[in-house]
């Protein structure tokens, strides 16, 4: 019986070999139980993607006006949230913020999951995925999408190279000498990769924003800019950098909640929150200026009367207020002031609001731009995604959760986990 008890809340023997000794993980059966809902979601997503690839994109609710729908919105949102990878890497390896060493591994995995998820959805969303290499063979360097394609694929390569050492630190894989040495050497070269990752991400986060800023035909999205980049280019970078660390913090807090373990020291959260707060304030400031310039001069020159953008039913002026003030300024203030940041409840709320603000910004630029009529005789149209689109969307999220759960279980993502566990034991002695 004793043996039974011990295996109940500990991984099975075969499974144990893969898990580092210091980390106590739940039993294999409980882990599989945790994975099943997500695998089902992933299966549904794959089936929906199969339908779209096999029969064509009429399976979705998109049409000739709403050519970008739920999927492109998903791409923009998760790539913005996945910016934690490049920014945390940049802070840690380039600016030497040592505290972030605790979250760098989870940040890289969150980034990898977001980027690979986005690329997977793009492969389903594009009409002829087999011809994707044409963008590399006949690049149109004036197009923002070429820039996005180049940088996303390059950064995905960089991310997978950054993911490799974390993978190779797995207890069983480390037994292979070549893996061990390769991981050791890679670790030393990480700053170079972090720098390249930051450079690539700087461009493609920006060009994702530039995608909409250059649309001369859509006054709602068109922005003047510096040189060849519209202002949305810089706003997207800023908002991504602002939201990246906070999203990593949210993910880590979520993992702590799910596994009911303390994985990271509180100061790390404070550092992440403070950086995000700082950048968010800067972003909100620039965003307000840009909106004012856009409303008063850019769209006026294009002939679109500014108040007509928000004169249509669902998208009233509340959406502008929500994006800038409610989900922009408020979280910035919360994350900036140490007093609010100290209380975990408020810090999380601030983080959530910040993420929601950036996601809303992506939604507005994708969906509202297409909803507004440009020709005088067109109408304001609405769009609802159907089950195929939502299933693929949830499938990607399930894919992310599965990859993260596997990484959390078999790779040691949190260096401070052991110490915190030991301190936890002593603390429980004291308390």
């Amino acid at each position: 019986m004793a043996d039974m008890v011990s295996t109940l809340n500990r991984p099975a023997v075969a499974d144990r070999e893969w898990i580092a000794r210091a980390q106590d993980r739940c039993s294999t059966s409980r882990f599989l139980l945790w994975l099943t809902p997500w695998t089902l979601l992933l299966a549904a997503g794959l089936y929906a993607a199969y339908l779209c690839l096999r029969y064509g994109l009429h399976q979705t609710n998109m049409d000739n006006r709403f050519v970008f729908g739920l999927w492109i919105f998903l791409d923009l949102a998760i790539i913005a949230l996945g910016a934690g990878a490049f920014f945390t890497g940049f802070l840690l390896y380039i600016l030497r913020w040592k505290e972030l060493k605790a979250v760098i591994a989870t940040a890289v995995i969150v980034g990898f999951v977001c980027y690979s998820g986005a690329v997977l959805v793009l492969m389903v969303d594009v009409g002829q995925p087999v011809r994707a290499w044409f963008t590399f063979w006949h690049p149109n360097t004036h197009s923002m999408l070429t820039e996005v394609t180049f940088c996303i694929s390059a950064y995905l390569v960089v991310l997978s190279i950054e993911y490799l050492p974390i993978l190779l630190k797995n207890r069983k894989l480390r037994k292979v000498p070549s893996f061990l040495v390769f991981e050791f050497e890679m670790h030393k070269l990480m700053p170079v990769l972090a720098g390249v990752g930051a450079f690539l991400s700087f461009f493609h986060q920006g060009s994702l924003g530039g995608l909409f800023g250059v649309l001369r035909g859509q006054p709602f999205a068109f922005r003047e800019g510096f040189g060849i980049w519209p202002t949305t280019f810089f706003l997207f970078i800023l908002s991504a950098m602002a939201v990246g660390p906070v999203f990593v913090m949210l993910v880590t807090r979520l993992v702590e909640a799910v596994t009911s373990k303390r994985l990271v020291r509180p100061q790390v959260y404070q550092v992440l929150a403070r950086t995000s707060g700082l950048l968010l304030t800067f972003y909100v400031l620039l965003k307000t200026i840009d909106t004012l310039v856009w409303l008063n001069s850019t769209s006026r020159q294009a002939g679109y009367r500014p108040w007509e953008y928000y004169a249509w039913e669902p998208f009233g002026t509340w959406i502008l207020f929500a994006e800038i003030v409610l989900l922009g300024l408020l979280p910035a203030l919360i994350l900036l002031s140490p007093k609010w940041r100290a209380r975990p409840g408020w810090m999380l709320a601030g983080a959530l609001l910040a993420c929601a603000g950036v996601v809303l910004n992506r939604f507005v630029l994708t969906i509202q731009t297409l909803a507004l009529p440009t020709l005088p005789f067109e109408q304001f149209l609405t769009y609802m995604p159907n089950w195929q689109e939502t299933a693929t969307f949830l499938g990607v999220i399930a894919y992310g959760v599965i990859v993260y759960s596997l990484s959390y279980r078999y790779l040691s993502l949190f260096p401070q986990e052991k110490e915190l566990a030991r301190e936890g034991k002593e603390a429980s002695h004291v308390s």
Binding site: R16, T141, H142, F150, R174, S178, E419, H429
Partner: protein
């Protein structure tokens, strides 16, 4: 992308964009290549062992990495950053003063000991605490005579199926003879130089303090959460701990005690 492809025109935009993109690809490729090249260079067994020990040492929590001088009170609370390699530690002389070369059994932090023999070879064995931790009936995989060992390298493996522990070699040299648990020693090692530098091993007083500390650590690990730290009651450990307390997480305890994260 390439010049001969139709539609390629040497505009400034093209050149700038493609050159930057190729530069990025080159740097990424170059980093991966240097990592691979260095890997090839370091694949020699001696280097692998060193790297293995170094990475494993990195993963140990700070509390397991106490410097030997912290044990003896010379430098309280000091955490070793050097993988217990006192020979290369710059401020070793600062703390240790000119203590005489300790005699008799010298202990490696991984609970293996070494004893010089009159004929110049060294006997290597597992200390009493280690034997108790692994318990009776554990299989032992000893390296064949003639294999070369580096210090801190994996000397031999012991343990029950599914929970084998690797024991670290306290000294460099060539295995001459293999012993067994009954003999009280496991390996006879012929060192490269007759008088190797053994400063990285604990001996004499430091070893005693270290053994007591390890005893407390084992009790702390074995005690279920919420137990009060009792005073040292001088009790003697049971011979086969895993049999005595099967419900303990031996996987983790062995990891902690034998410095294997």
């Amino acid at each position: 992308m390439f010049p001969n492809v139709d539609g390629f025109h040497w505009t400034f935009g093209h050149i700038l964009f493609l050159s930057i993109f190729f530069a990025v690809l080159l740097t990424v490729g170059f980093t991966a290549a240097t990592a691979l090249a260095r890997m090839m260079r370091n694949l020699r067994p001696k280097k692998v062992a060193e790297i293995r020990w170094h990475t494993e040492f990195e993963d140990l929590p700070a509390s397991d990495r106490q410097c030997r001088h912290a044990l003896t009170g010379a430098a309280p609370g000091r955490v070793c950053e050097n993988g217990f390699e006192c020979r290369h530690c710059a401020d070793y002389p600062k703390f240790s003063g000119t203590a005489p070369e300790p005699q008799g059994r010298l202990y490696h932090r991984g609970h293996t000991w070494v004893e010089r023999q009159p004929d110049g070879t060294f006997l290597v064995g597992l200390d009493e605490l280690g034997e108790k931790l692994i318990g009776a009936g554990a299989q032992v995989e000893l390296p064949a005579p003639g294999t070369r060992l580096a210090s801190h390298d994996v000397a031999w493996r012991m343990g029950k199926p599914g929970n084998t522990v690797r024991l670290l070699a306290p000294v460099e040299g060539e295995v001459v003879e293999t012993g067994s648990r009954e003999k009280g020693w496991y390996l006879r090692v012929k060192p490269e130089s007759p008088w190797p530098d053994l400063r990285h091993l604990l001996g004499g007083a430091a070893a005693a303090v270290w053994l007591d500390r390890e005893m407390e650590r084992v009790q702390a690990l074995l005690a279920p959460a919420g137990m009060q730290p009792t005073l040292a009651d001088g009790g003697v450990l049971v011979d086969d701990l895993p049999k005595a307390q099967p419900e303990a997480d031996w996987h983790a305890i062995h990891g902690a005690m034998f410095l294997e994260p």
